[in-house]
Amino acid sequence: MNEQEYYVPSGTYWPIIGSIGVATLFVGFANQMHGASWGGSIMALGFAILVFMMFGWFSQVVKESTSGMYNSQVDRSFRWGMSWFIFSEVMFFAAFFAALFYARQLSVPWLGGADNNMFTPELWDGFRATWQQIAFNTPGATLQSGTAVSVPTQLVDAWGLPALNTALLLLSGVTLTFAHHALRAGHRNKIISWLVATIVLGVLFLGFQITEYGHAYHDGLKLTSGIYGSTFYMLTGFHGFHVTVGVLMLTVILYRVQKGHFSADNHFGFEGVAWYWHFVDVVWLGLFIFVYWL
């Protein structure tokens, strides 16, 4: 295609299909929250329309790209588009990390009477302003007040699954880097092997995260377990969602590598997904350190 001309796609119906999908999803979600029996079905329908739209639209973009309809101007547009998407993702997680720091460093100490009770007096007799997850050293114990404590010892054990999951995700960063190197060197079989390894590690991470949630929920840590439970599930839950999306993206990239869509010097699709995976990896490292250790 002529480098001086900007490729303008012809009229497309995918945006309106996407809008219908999002609207259906939210109508279903709102009614589900209000207890409507049909809310879940409408949500599922909206989600299916969204998936159909993404599959159709992205397929069209891939076809246009592989047929040589894009020039360097379009390439720049894709790079800027991905960068703004990443900016929104960084702001998204920055807000949740800020919520964690605010609750932990300011609001919880204030509730506990920090700064000479300048902000709040003691809320009620026996109130304890603790940020960290409390683990009682005797499972099933009873407090002096007679309240039974169902929280067992070592509710959130930083040495266990969280450390294992961190190792898995960091290892996936290494395997993805090997795949990236193989792509730049033009070794397609190696790219496929390392990408498969990365996807397997991502799926393993998700499996262990579900197991961790099962333990935590069973032991009494829920979204409603105060500010710690809320921030814990919001941060780790949204991170898990991003890992899920990342695994899907890597799977699509694996398919495209097998189809020979990328060359050693032209592989923006791979680069965008690789950076996204590294970002998700770093977010987890931050979570592991600030939620479990510092």
């Binding site: 390439d75 720049r76 790079r79 800027w80 991905m82 960068s83 990443i86 007799d125 026996g126 603790t130 960290q132 997850q133 409390i134 683990a135 009682f136 050293n137 005797t138 114990a141 009873t142 407090l143 002096q144 007040s145 404590v149 010892t153 070592q154 509710l155 959130v156 054990d157 930083a158 040495w159 450390a163 961190t166 190792a167 960091l170 960063g173 290494v174 880097t177 990236h180 190197h181 730049r184 010097d265 923006f268 680069e271 965008g272 690789a274 950076w275 590294h278 970002f279 990896d281 770093v282 490292l285 931050g286 592991f288 350190i289 939620v291 479990y292 250790w293 510092l294």
Partner: protein, 75 residues
């Protein structure tokens, strides 16, 4: 001191990740090189940080974010 080192390494990781993003945005051969090298640094620093945190915990320099309480002493 250990905590300061951990924070410094986290900042270095974020800078490497950010440089990788700039490389991707730039594109072309030079941008692709910059992106790859930055992400390699990111991976190496992350592995170092994980080992540092685990070692510091093993040595008792940092404690997990879990408060152990004796239930019988609480109201």
């Amino acid at each position: 001191m250990t905590q300061v080192v951990i924070i410094v390494v986290i900042i270095a990781i974020l800078i490497a990740l950010g440089l990788g993003l700039l490389g991707m945005l730039k594109g072309g051969s030079a941008g692709s090189d910059k992106m790859f090298k930055s992400l390699v640094i990111r991976v190496v620093l992350s592995l170092f940080l994980f080992i540092l945190v685990m070692f510091a915990a093993f040595m008792g320099w940092i404690e997990p974010n879990v408060v152990m309480m004796d239930a019988s002493t609480l109201k």
